[in-house]
């Protein structure tokens, strides 16, 4: 006697209850607050905002808490919420040249107007686990000094003054900026859509692709022209008012890679650019993004497309971790109907194989 398995609905409810319980962990340990996550796991929050495509520290912190620290799951939560928000329009382009810089380095010049600003970075920390931190020791107060009032022009603008680097393409006021969340993507894709895709792309995926280009799979000789992190003003053109209204400021990291020069009989040689931009302090992300932005310009710059990092359809179709994780993990869903179909075919082929080879049939229950 066989009774069909039932009760999936209760199983789901129970699984959700158990998940909530596991998320909380030992109830004798104090619960994490969103402020704690936002303040003390701030780089995780920055990544979730960047790849979640939504600038909201509190929601990103909530997502990280709800996702038990699984950042891709948190990004997914933020994206799903973002998809329900009404779209009012696009802001005016932000001016990263006017950034309130908290960190700013260039690897191409020893000194630059406005100076190198090391800022908060892991770069020169010795990676030794710190037992004092385990005990919750309060860190020393940061050193202070006179804020510089001088401008901090972008290194690429300095190079650009002498024509040594290709100019950034001018903004075309009449051409709306593409948005791959509103319009289905088609190939070849313009650079605005490529950059949007890369900004939302999985950091690990871009890191690996950028790395592959450094190792020769689409090499383009990059220099880190400048990496800057700080606050920029955001303005929105209110059509009714007829002028741009300030909305506040956001923290951004920008990376401008200076790459291999190009030139021709009619055009003087100059460096080319790769660009990366992300919310918060996201240096690995922006550097990887800038490398891949440059490799993806192969078609535009007349370079031969030979490596994965240069292949825009390959990169853009596989860069989104919410899409990727969904499709990889969907293999958990039942597939017994198609598997059964495959099983039936395989059994038939094996039977025919056995007959053809005059061997006794394989040990299989009778069909």
């Amino acid at each position: 006697m066989y009774v069909a398995v039932k009760g999936g609905e209760r199983a789901i409810e129970n699984a959700h209850r158990l998940l909530a319980h596991e998320r909380r962990g030992d109830r004798d340990i104090p619960e994490l607050s969103l402020a704690q996550i936002s303040e003390q796991l701030s780089l995780g929050v920055d990544r979730v905002m960047t790849e979640g495509s939504l600038y909201d520290r509190e929601l990103a912190a909530l997502a990280i808490k709800q996702a038990r620290g699984d950042l891709i799951e948190a990004i997914f939560l933020v994206r799903a919420f973002r998809a329900t928000l009404p779209r009012f329009g696009a802001t005016e382009p932000v001016d990263t040249g006017a950034m309130q810089v908290r960190r700013r380095i260039s690897s191409t010049f020893k000194d630059i107007p406005g100076g190198q600003v090391l800022g908060p970075t892991f770069d020169y920390t010795h990676r030794l686990l710190d037992p004092q931190l385990a005990d919750g020791a309060a860190p020393d107060a940061p050193a202070t000094g006179e804020a510089s009032t001088g401008a901090t022009p972008r290194v690429t603008d300095i190079l650009g003054r002498d024509g040594l680097i290709e100019p950034s393409p001018p903004a075309e006021a009449d051409v709306p900026v593409g948005d791959l969340t509103r319009e289905p993507l088609s190939f070849p894709a313009d650079r605005d859509l490529r950059l949007q895709n890369l900004a939302r792309a999985d950091e690990g995926f871009l890191l690996a692709l950028g790395y592959s280009s450094q190792r020769g799979y689409g090499r383009n000789h990059p220099f880190a022209g400048e990496i800057r992190f700080g606050e920029v003003e955001v303005e929105f053109m209110a059509e009714d008012a007829g002028f741009a209204v300030p909305l506040g400021s956001v923290a951004l990291t920008e990376c401008q890679m200076v790459n291999q020069f190009k030139g021709s009989a009619t055009q003087a040689p100059c460096f080319t650019r790769g660009y990366g931009l992300a919310f918060g302090q996201s240096e690995r992300k922006t550097m990887s993004m800038a490398l891949v932005d440059r490799t993806l310009r192969a078609r535009e710059l007349g370079e031969e497309v030979i490596a994965p990092a240069q292949d825009e359809e390959f990169v853009m179709s596989h860069s989104d971790n919410v899409q990727a994780t969904g499709f990889v993990e969907h293999l958990k869903l039942p597939h017994y109907v198609d598997f059964q179909s495959e099983l039936g075919l395989l059994r038939k082929l094996r039977k025919e194989f056995a007959v053809a080879n005059e061997a006794p049939p394989m040990q299989e229950a009778a069909e």
Binding site: E9, H330, S341, E342
Partner: protein, 294 residues
């Protein structure tokens, strides 16, 4: 904090309009994959987001919704999607194929014949039937534009040369209205003939791949084959152990680790209706008892 407030059937009206326009074009060009700006849904890509968006765009308060996965109303993903629409649209739900006005499915077409006025919404993982032969969208789009499907026939023919049969048992490609080669989603090829001249409207949604396509009612849908190797349905040759049906697609249930197995209808509604009508199989239990997993 921005507290979320959701619209009827979850999607905002702008998104619904965009999906509705894509559905109309899909119906007007049977088998052609219409690109649409698929939204991020509150369930993972690959778990039915395309089907869910199509259903959300068509569903109204008078609809009666049925959701199946692997032919069953009680698989976890079917339950999850049914609950989603119960919660966001407040529509009536049913497990009866006949009573439903909208049926969302993954991997099966119900055994009971569909009727005019019904809409069958398929969840589709990879909408492009040529994708495994040619991974580039730019190339496959050109092939569809020219109606150039030689590559597919070569693949099927290579199967025959190698195995003596076309070695595709599910997601078996079809030609719609004598023009577009189409992926029927990973349904077993047993279900393919049900798509041909079907009185119901068939809509296909692929969320991650951002495509919607359709088969209008009473449209020619032909499974690809060769004259000397005609398309055949496959079904395990046994009656259902619960209802005795000899015409339904069967799930294989492994009953022990000594080679014991039994076969029961994959379409649970079909099986239950038959049992209620008095049909019995070799392993029938009556009355039906609930057994919960924890």
């Amino acid at each position: 904090m921005n507290a979320p407030a959701y619209n009827f059937a979850y999607l905002d009206e702008q998104t619904k309009r965009m999906i509705r326009r894509a559905i109309l074009k899909a119906i007007a060009i049977p088998g052609y994959q219409v690109p649409f700006a698929s939204r991020e849904m509150p369930m993972p890509y690959g778990w039915g987001t395309g089907g869910v968006q199509v259903t959300a765009a068509i569903l109204g308060p008078d609809d009666v919704l049925k959701v199946i996965d692997q032919g069953s109303d009680d698989t976890t993903n079917a339950i999850s999607i049914r609950k989603f629409f119960g919660k966001t649209a407040g529509v009536a739900t049913t497990t009866s194929t006949t009573d439903a006005t909208v049926i969302q499915t993954r991997h099966r077409i119900p055994e009971a014949p569909l009727h005019a006025g019904q809409v069958l919404v398929y969840q589709v993982p990879i909408p492009e039937p040529l994708r495994f032969l040619e991974p580039r969208e730019t190339e496959t789009r050109r092939m569809h534009a020219l109606g150039e499907y030689g590559l597919m026939h070569v693949k099927l023919y290579e199967d025959i040369a190698r195995f003596g049969h076309i070695a595709t048992s599910y997601a078996y490609p079809v030609k719609v209205n004598a023009r577009y080669v189409m992926d029927p989603s990973p349904t077993p090829k047993f279900d393919n003939p049900k798509m041909d001249n079907c009185p119901a409207l068939q809509l296909f949604g692929a969320g991650r791949e951002k495509r919607i396509y359709a088969i209008p009612p009473h449209t020619d849908v032909v499974s690809l084959d060769f004259e000397d190797h005609p398309f055949t349905r496959y079904r395990f040759d046994a009656p259902c152990a619960l209802c005795g049906a000899g015409d339904s697609y069967l799930d294989e249930i492994v009953t022990d680790d000594k080679g014991g197995r039994m076969f029961v209808c994959s379409d649970t509604d079909y099986c239950e209706q038959r049992q209620q009508a008095g049909h019995r199989g070799s392993e029938s239990a009556a009355p039906h008892k609930e057994r919960a997993h924890v």
